[in-house]
């Protein structure tokens, strides 16, 4: 199966093409086909995973060149190693669940089949991204997932906020992509190849200077920052929640946003060589994590809380990977790589579950605002329980999946005190805001009776995927238990095998932190021992800052978007006024010049011309007499001219006459001509009379 792994991304693509060109009008068939395709991909992914485990994670690579310029080859190929196999499973599993879930969620949407087409296209792009064997190809799919994300966020494009969010997502991630291009150009261009393994070996051989490598890696990481919504490009992800909830679950929680993490993990052999770049990665990661978690504390939109939670968790993973790179560069062992990828997987499952659960809730109560929910537990049992399982998981409670992966992250950070502090702070905040969400949504009394009455459990197409993901949210972490001999760590490890060991001390600390977070939330929102309002009042400035998300949007709007737009307008004015004005000015000058010339022409040149014209016209009015219009007269004139010319010629040729003689002859000729004119004048006089007499005679 590994040889045919290209089928895994290709099947959803077939689904996309079929829906667009053939099945568009048959909604059910379209959805069914799409789901069938992604399920096949899922099955294949499992087979690939098993085969990869069988190979002990040895990479399998196959590719062909699409074209090459000079020595630079552009290739399309697949690389199956443990990381890829794991990603394939994650993506196809979540995608399958989400697609099935969408059957119910999008049931009455007028663009139902289009939704599935987009989802299929996304699955194709995402699977292609993870299966790629070179940076060129990853960049292609990187952009394609961006496109599908754009299309899906703006799926309900009649809403201005949705289309705005789509645009924002696309452009913000594109800013990151810009960095990624530069990074690729620096690294791949420097090495003369795009292929992962060739680049890795080339860098290991020291082709690139350390500065170049560090710069390139930081730029490359910019791509990950954009895609994984890291600080400072995180602003698009919360807005992206305008998209349909399954989309948020699939793209903006489980898969596309982890592409950045995947990229860092994929490029880890490079980061291992650059401590600076790795440190930048780690710092960005933890900054994001803290910032997003703190914003998540106060948000009231259920999906936005989850979005900030996603950002925060992604920051976790990035930090772990960065710390791993740093430690390795420093020659120390670190579980960071394993921790980051492991958390990536578990997070994908429980976050997808959270989103789908949130979607189920929204589906039931038709609002996003958690302040208007409450007490939904009895009405939506499956949703509520799976949601709470996922919350436990994300909070890091034993033995849920999140516990194992988060524990490894804490272990990674444990050697760096500052990171350790913030990591635990984030863990605390995460537990708090997740359980704030749970308590406000499912516990207590309904705060909006009307919505509560309306609420109901979702259809089976929606609840079954929840249940399935719920199982994964519990069990997915068990593959990474530190006591396993050949667990996740040994599978995914890229360098020398890392033997995870159970550090009960750290486990204890993180559990305490998580439980205290949950406890605080319980006190505030379930027991209501501590009034949230009082807390808000006490920390008013901070609360306001957090509620407004540190004013990032406003700041960007103020320092980037408006200036760029204004600059554009200014440039346009510049274009129309100055550049074009210059051209028109030149034209104007030419016009002025021609005006001057015209004056000159009119009075000086025209004067001369008119003078000449006057002379000519008076002469010609004399000569006009010659033009009698009578053919005979012309004949006579010709005859006379022949005679004169003949005489002149004769004299010159035979007699060699001098000019005086000639002039006499010419005078004679002139006399002849004057005779002619005279006769003409007479004729002119008589002509009228003659015709008069003629006609008179005729009448007789």
């Amino acid at each position: 199966m590994t040889e045919n792994a290209y089928l895994i991304p290709l099947l959803p693509f077939i689904g996309f093409v079929m829906i667009v060109f053939a099945l568009r009008w048959k909604e059910k068939v379209a959805a069914g086909f799409s789901i069938a395709m992604i399920l096949s991909s899922w099955v294949f992914s499992i087979i690939v995973l098993i085969e990869t485990i069988g190979r002990d994670g040895a990479p399998y690579e196959a590719f062909f060149y699409i074209t090459s310029f000079d020595t630079l080859n552009f290739e399309i190929g697949i690389l199956i190693d443990s990381l890829t196999a794991m990603m394939l499973i994650v993506v196809s599993t979540v995608a399958s669940c989400v697609q099935i879930y969408s059957l119910g969620y999008m049931k009455d949407d007028p663009r139902f089949s289009r939704f599935f087409a987009y989802l299929s296209l996304f699955c194709f792009s995402m699977l292609g991204l993870v299966i790629a064997n070179n940076f060129f190809m990853i960049f292609i799919f990187w952009e394609l997932v961006g496109l599908t994300s754009y299309l899906l966020i703006g799926f309900w494009f009649e809403k201005k906020s949705a289309s705005d969010a789509g645009k924002k997502a696309f452009i913000t991630t594109r800013i990151g992509d810009l960095g990624m291009i530069v990074g690729l150009l620096l690294i791949a261009g420097g090495c003369g190849t795009f292929n992962y393994n060739e680049i890795f070996s080339s860098v290991a051989a020291g082709t690139l200077s350390p500065t170049m490598l560090t710069t390139g890696l930081i730029f490359l990481f910019a791509g990950a920052v954009g895609k994984s919504a890291q600080f400072p490009l995180h602003v698009w992800l919360p807005d992206a929640m305008e998209g349909p909830t399954p989309v948020s679950a699939l793209i903006h929680a489980a898969t596309m946003v982890v592409a950045g993490v995947y990229l860092v993990a994929r490029a880890m052999p490079l980061f291992e060589s650059s401590a600076t770049a790795s440190m930048v990665v780690a710092i960005i990661g933890i900054t994001t994590s803290v910032m997003a978690a703190s914003i998540g504390l106060v948000q009231n939109d259920i999906k936005r809380v989850l979005a900030y939670s996603t950002v925060s968790q992604l920051g976790y993973m990035i930090m772990a990977l960065g710390l791993y790179g740093y430690d390795t560069a420093m020659g120390e062992h670190s579980p960071g790589y394993y921790a980051g990828t492991f958390h990536l997987m578990t997070h994908a499952f429980f976050k997808a579950l959270l989103f789908l659960g949130a979607g189920s809730v929204i589906h039931a109560v038709h609002t996003n605002n958690i302040q208007e929910m409450g007490g939904l537990l009895p009405k939506m049992k499956i949703t509520a329980w799976t949601f709470m399982i996922a919350s436990l998981s994300i909070s890091g409670i034993f033995p849920f999946a999140g516990f194992w992966s988060k524990d490894e992250i804490v272990a990674t950070a444990s050697t760096h005190p500052v990171f350790m502090f913030f990591t635990l702070a984030v863990a605390f905040m995460t537990a708090f805001y997740m359980w704030r969400l749970c308590f406000l949504t499912f516990w207590g009394k309904p705060r909006d009776q009307h919505r509560f009455d309306h609420a109901h459990e979702s259809p089976r197409s929606m609840s079954w995927p929840l249940a399935f993901l719920g199982i994964l949210a519990v069990g997915a972490g068990w593959v990474g238990m530190p006591w396993l001999k050949a667990g996740f760590a040994s599978f995914v490890y890229s360098g020398e095998a890392y033997k995870p060991h159970a550090d009960y001390m750290l486990m204890g600390v993180s559990t305490v932190v998580a439980v205290s977070g949950i406890g605080l939330a319980w006190l505030m929102y379930a027991k209501q021992v501590i009034s949230p309002d009082k807390m808000v009042a006490r920390f008013k400035p901070i609360h306001k800052l957090l509620l407004n998300k540190y004013y990032f949007d406003e700041i960007y709007d103020f320092i980037i978007i408006r200036p760029v737009l204004a600059f554009g307008r200014y440039m346009w004015t510049f274009d129309a006024r100055i550049v074009d004005g210059l051209v028109n000015g030149v034209a104007w000058l030419v016009m002025i010049w021609s005006d001057i010339k015209m004056w000159f022409d009119k009075w000086i040149i025209d004067g001369a011309v008119n003078g000449a014209g006057w002379v000519i016209s008076s002469t010609s009015s004399l000569l006009r007499l010659v033009q009698t219009g009578a053919v005979q007269f012309y004949a006579l004139f010709i005859l006379a001219s022949i005679v004169i010319l003949a005489v002149v010629k004769y004299e010159v040729v035979y007699n060699d006459v001098s000019w005086p003689v000639l002039s006499i002859i010419l005078l004679a000729g002139l006399y002849l001509l004057s005779l002619v004119s005279k006769s003409v004048a007479e004729k002119a006089k008589t002509a009228a009379a003659a015709t008069a007499t003629d006609s008179g005679e005729e009448e007789k």
Partner: protein
């Protein structure tokens, strides 16, 4: 050679007739008389042709010019002009100038003829059977011009009919 130097008395008589009648053609006021003079003049030219050994041409001259063209002219005169017998100013007002110019032209030409004293006379004589020779030539060497000229005549004929036709008929 001798003949070239002295054309003989017949020539002079014919020349006189031609010139006098020719002058009458251009100067008489009655156009009908002019036509009669033209007939005489052309007959004289036919005589000159005989003198020059061009018997066939002389015949053709009589037939075509005297017989056809002149008669055509007379018909033309009679058809177009009801003034056939009337006297009007025959010449245009250019007459004096024209006369002067023509005299100069003709004089110049004659002077040129006489001044050219080296005519390359041929020693041979005309073929005896003049007419047959012309016939042969027409059918061989001048075949194309002959045909062309036939077409021209035909065209002229048709053209004349078309032009002269009354619109009503």
């Amino acid at each position: 050679m001798n003949e070239a130097a002295n054309p003989g008395i017949v020539f002079w008589v014919l020349s006189a007739i031609i010139l006098v009648t020719g002058f009458m053609v251009v100067s008489l006021k009655n156009i009908f008389h002019c036509a009669i003079a033209l007939v005489l003049c052309l007959s004289g030219v036919a005589g000159i042709f005989v003198l020059l050994g061009a018997e066939f041409l002389a015949g053709a001259q009589v037939l075509i010019y005297v017989g056809a063209v002149a008669i055509l002219m007379i018909f033309g005169v009679m058809l177009t002009s009801n003034l056939a017998g009337k006297k009007i100013i025959a010449t245009t007002s250019n007459a004096m100038v024209a006369f002067f110019a023509t005299v100069l032209f003709g004089g110049g030409t004659i002077v040129t003829i006489f001044m050219t004293d080296v005519w390359r006379y041929s020693s041979e004589s005309l073929p005896i059977d003049n007419v047959m020779f012309i016939g042969k030539l027409l059918m061989t060497e001048f075949m194309l011009p002959f045909e062309v000229v036939s077409v021209l005549l035909l065209a002229a004929m048709i053209g004349a009919i078309v032009l002269a036709r009354d619109e009503e008929s």
